[in-house]
Amino acid sequence: MHAKGLRALTLATLAALTVTLALVVFYAPNDADQGFIQKLFYLHVPIAIVTLVAYVVAGVLAYKHLRTDERRWDVRSYVVIHIALIFNILGLVTGAIWAKASWGHWWVWDEPTLVSFLIVFLLYATYQPLRFAIEDPERQARYASVFAIMAGAFVPLNFIAVRMASSLVHPRTFATAEGGLPGEMMLVFLVSLAAMTLLFWLLVKYEIAHKHATWQLRALRRRLLGDDAVAPLGRSAAPAIVPEAVGRRADAPAPAPSISPSDAPGAAR
């Protein structure tokens, strides 16, 4: 059910990434100042944009979770933040390489994108430890959503503050009066942005499908082989999914409640 359209999306992503790479290498013109290394731009900037947008989207998903109290929104918010963290690291690494190539240093404090990226990374790196520190799954989901909303609003605010604080070494590609990028570069950039968005979306869908498959498998094993066949759950930062597709016997214990002993009211304090 959750794997619907996954194959088409995978093929589309592969095609988009191939086209992007081909365009970047063969079609996009070499930069007059920086030469070939400037082509890292087509990787770094789309990754950065996708990451920042994903964090904000995760905040919106978390908001929906708080509004509706449905676990699937929490799962989505969790997965989006998880993949965005990976993209965040990619953005930091490509940014550092680009900084080394352009300015001769691995780290440049005058580059607002890179600096806000680091701050945002440091903030979101605490998301999983925070979840892990809360045992009760309900409370874990709720607190994580509160965190995701605060952090989602923090991302643009932080970006503004850091940009104001740094001098303007960073190429302001889109802000120049003459429209910035020449047409060919803009085309390649937009294709690359689309490819990165597809890749992000695909990874999110894969992880959600994987989580559902794992939980369904667990529930099925439990039903067929008995409770002893399934290892008890440890404490986890990931949200637990109660598979709705697997019918449970009326007398069988539900799969989720064994997550922690603190489920009992008042046990957590």
């Binding site: 708080l66 701050i119 945002v120 440091l122 903030l123 605490t126 430890p129 925070l130 520190a133 809360i134 045992e135 409370r139 709720r142 607190y143 959503s145 509160v146 965190f147 909303i149 605060m150 952090a151 609003a153 923090f154 605010l157 932080n158 503004i160 503050a161 850091v162 104001m164 604080a165 957590a268 304090r269």
Partner: protein, 259 residues
């Protein structure tokens, strides 16, 4: 931490004040909804009373700031600092001191069942947020009343008098941001397993924009022969930060008390 010596006293005072707040809300009759302000004021009074009877957070924060100034003196190897260095030393010290206060903000509620009392009382839960943020704000102001003169005496090059009004404005805006974010992070972390670790990890990155604004605004104030009033744009950044996180915190705080 002087509070450890008198463990029996604070909860009693807290329970009494909490019950008083509930009673006050009940007295106004069943037909009228309890306003947000009166319970918040009652809770704030409880917190301040608690801190006055068994001082815990504020003395610790004050001592921490003074010790940190001494550490900076030796760490930097300087007798006096000015400009952006002075702003950095002062503001980072205050930020770290605020973390101490944020860590302890909900400890009485957690340990003595204050959360249950608030949930049982017919009051809006955001009253807790308002009260806690206000309490933290008062603590921070008290700390700064000692920390800023101590800083001027121990480390600052030149006189502080000329730029004092500007510095007060910057610190006031910073304190509001610290109080708002601190109240939420404290409530977020209080029921986790590793409260002391979660608070600084979550709060410090969240406070980076506030620190940027405050440090940039305060740097010319603390420079010898510098400006006497901070530039409007950094005050604007601080104000925007306070506004955005104030509204957000007000909106999401409910969900941290739902049990």
């Amino acid at each position: 931490m002087t509070g450890a010596a008198t463990p029996g006293q604070p909860p009693t005072a807290g329970a009494r004040a909490g019950a008083g707040g509930a009673a006050a809300a009940r007295d106004r009759g069943p037909g009228r909804p309890a306003g947000a302000l009166r319970p918040a004021l009652a809770l704030l009074r409880k917190d301040l009373l608690l801190e006055r009877r068994a001082p815990e957070s504020v003395p610790a924060m004050v001592l921490f700031t003074c010790t940190t100034f001494v550490l900076f003196h030796f760490g930097l190897g300087r007798n006096a600092v000015e400009g952006s260095l002075a702003a950095g030393v002062l503001l980072v010290t205050l930020l770290l001191a605020a973390i101490l206060g944020i860590n302890r903000l909900f400890v009485a509620e957690q340990a003595e069942g204050g959360f249950d009392a608030v949930l049982l009382a017919p009051i809006d839960r955001t009253a807790v947020f308002v009260a806690k943020a206000a309490a933290l704000l008062v603590f921070l102001v008290l700390v700064e009343l000692v920390a800023v003169p101590a800083f001027a005496l121990l480390l600052l090059e030149g006189s502080i008098w000329r730029s004092l009004p500007g510095l007060v404005a910057v610190l006031a805006l910073l304190d509001v941001g610290l109080a708002v974010v601190g109240a939420v992070v404290s409530a977020l972390a209080i029921r986790t397993r590793a409260r002391d670790l979660i608070v600084p990890m979550v709060a410090l990155p969240l406070l980076v924009p506030a620190l940027i604004g405050a440090a940039r605004a305060a740097a010319p104030l603390l420079a010898t022969g510098g400006a006497s009033w901070p530039s409007a744009r950094w005050l604007l950044v601080l104000g925007l930060y306070d506004l955005v996180f104030g509204l957000l915190a007000y909106a999401v705080f409910d969900f941290l008390l739902e049990d």
